[in-house]
């Protein structure tokens, strides 16, 4: 058994909480966990990619091989497109319908592809996937910072390896007291969005 999850986003979107929850979940099952992320200079609005690998056998490289990701979480549309090559066509993706322009697209030097183009590209690579407005939902529930919890909820809805109620318990346990209720609401909203959007 193995589960490779790639999370692509923009610096500051805070993938750390979601990664931590998934790590705890896998470790509680006695799984091997290995992963890596770009942090540091990349965190000031740059492109950020986290690799998370879970397996019941030894894992060597912290980087997911091209075409090896069972799940690609696109926290931002362009960053999802950038890392589509990681996605296994038999896996699935969750794309947050939220776009952050780049300096070059803002200056008109580069063109930011439309969300329709990005969705079409993603579907060409991998037939299964959902597009959800996670950031807008998070903002509606209190803070755009909760995007990662909404995405986590969507992941648990679509992937039966992750037991929804159990992960929800982890979200509750690992959230700081002041964010607990909001995070739980975000998690449930993510599940609901994914349930509605899943074409499979």
């Amino acid at each position: 058994m193995k589960k490779d999850i790639a999370i692509a986003g923009v610096g500051g979107q805070g993938n750390l909480f979601a990664t931590n929850v998934l790590c705890q979940y896998a470790m509680a099952r006695g799984m091997q966990v290995l992963g890596t992320e770009t942090i540091g200079a990349a965190q000031r609005g740059g492109s950020v990619i986290s690799h998370m690998r879970i397996a019941d056998h030894p894992i060597y490289s912290p980087l997911i091989p091209q075409g090896g990701a069972d799940v690609l979480l696109g926290m931002e549309t362009l960053e999802m497109l950038r890392h589509l090559g990681l996605l296994n066509p038999q896996g699935f993706y969750i794309m947050n319908l939220y776009s952050v322009p780049t300096v070059y697209t803002n200056l008109g030097i580069d063109r930011y592809p439309s969300q329709e183009e990005i969705v079409a590209a993603a579907r060409k690579v991998c037939p299964r996937g959902v597009e959800i407005p996670a950031t807008y939902k998070a903002a509606e529930l209190g803070s755009a910072q909760m995007t990662n919890v909404v995405m986590l909820g969507a992941l648990c809805q679509l992937d039966e390896y992750f037991d929804g109620p159990e992960v929800e318990g982890l979200v509750e346990r690992l959230s700081p007291e002041s964010f607990k209720d909001k995070n739980l609401a975000g998690f449930r909203a993510g599940r609901e969005l994914a349930r509605a959007g899943d074409r499979a």
Binding site: R44, Y60, Q66, L78, L107
Partner: protein
Amino acid sequence: MGDLAITRGAVESGVKVAAGYPGTPATEILEGFVDYDQVHAEWSCNEKVALEVALGASLAGVRSMAVMKHNGTNVSTDIIMHLNFTGIKAGLVLISADDPGGLSSQNEEDSRILVHTYANLPVFDPSSAVEAKAMVKEAYRLSEETQLCFVLRPVMRVCHSRSVIDYEDLDQSLFKEAGWEDDRDRYIMSAVEVRELGGIKRPQARHRWLNAKYQELTELFEKSPFNWIEGGEGELGLIGCGIGYTYLKEAGLNFSRGYPILKLGTLPLPRRMVLDFLKGKKKVLVFEELEPVVENLIKQLALDNGLKLQVLGRSGFYSPDGELTVPLVTQAVRKLDPGLSLKKEFSPPKLDLQIPVRTRTQCVGCAHRALLYSLKRVARKKKAVVFGDIGCHDAGSFKPMELQSTIYCMGSSVPMATGAHFAGLQRPVISMMGDSTLFHLGLNGLVNAAYQKSNQVIVLGDNRTTAMTGFQPHAGSGVDIRGAESPRVDLEMLGRSLGIKVHSVDPYDLQGSYEVLLQAVEEEGVSLVIASKACFLQGSRQGEKFFEPTKLKVDQELCQGCMICINDFGCPALVYSTETEKVHIDELTCVQCGLCAEVCKLGAIS
């Protein structure tokens, strides 16, 4: 995290003093020591200072660690080239983290060349976080056995890897009490005659000692748990060094056949083991980060032993720059063995879309952006050249702002501006530096500019922290690594003590900052402009209030799409729409600082 595995390895080894300077990917190693009360942990002013602090502790009989990234190891070169000759007393391990691919660095380099090829120190190159921890513990044991400073060279993928790490109980007997014993034959590095060696000078005597140690290490590493051979038949052999080994193993999962593998984790190399491996091979291929260090050592070994085989690797067989990856390893092995078939072929999807690059910038709300905006107005008006330095403000040199004309290494901005001035440049010279960089190596340039009677403006973007690496405090923060109160350098007083003109501005006051900067450029001599404002990201997380939130909108009637707000200010919340050819504010990104309203000359933002 790999970094924390290294910390834990050090604490389990009884380390009592740990010093470093922040630098991705090594930062979290030192931060990890804060969890252990028995350790004196410090963010030193720079890496050379950190290594000297660690050396002092070692000579006082206490195990110590110095933590830095490759650029910092460069800064430490002088002390490295002395402590290699003297040796150490209590175990001393230097962490020199490399960043192949330059994902979070100004350059990419292989610090094994400095610490091993140049300084002849023993180096461990970990393949994983788990091995890194084991290597740290072994390094302390061997450091005392051999009297040498050991170096651990983890790459970013080891530092920032996440995996399950076993913690062992702490053995309190390892935390030794300090004591001093003079050993002038070793600790006095000076050109003095050594009577016992017929009057040769001490540097030569200690060099002789180090060379003898090198032979001893070669022998020692034959039995090291970090080097091994994995079976397999054939005339082609694969060699994986450090993280290169893990990529090789990962790629191998997809190979239809196996190869003999030599896994290497030490320098110097275990020569007999390597020679055993080379026996009967026609070609071997070495995977290492980042330069052909091991490859060249093996070539030399083969030559010395009259072996006829090809040793291939970073020197040209595959990419001599950038990070190793599984596809790169796969491709190189296929080139070595064209008969190799893969269990699963994967070709990356062909997209008809161009994917725009994403460069970083300052955060929304950052005071640096405000300061850079005012500085750009002045630089443009006075046709000044701006020399940049390391820190979050360096992104002012990228598009769209393109203000600073140079970015080199820590503290280089001020001396370079001095040089340009004395070269006779008929334009004003300005340098832009951050506070942490000032205390690192910037101070020397500042003192020099004052002493040389230069004519230049030095702009200090003082956000009271080392922001770019994640808010590490420094001598201007007023707190130490544990958050306890510490003396704080008074920047204005410091500037005045140098006999230069000193101004202070509030960077959020755009017009006020502009006027002071303009005045400074018009002044004769050296002027220091201090723009103090806490890092917005850090401060707002701690509940600090920076401004009255002002909800702004761009009036779509008034906006003419002139792009001044994007070109000169460049806040990520300002978005240009190609459809409307106008700018709007992304409400989810905006922190309502209100500054862009001042930037728009048409009054379209209000």
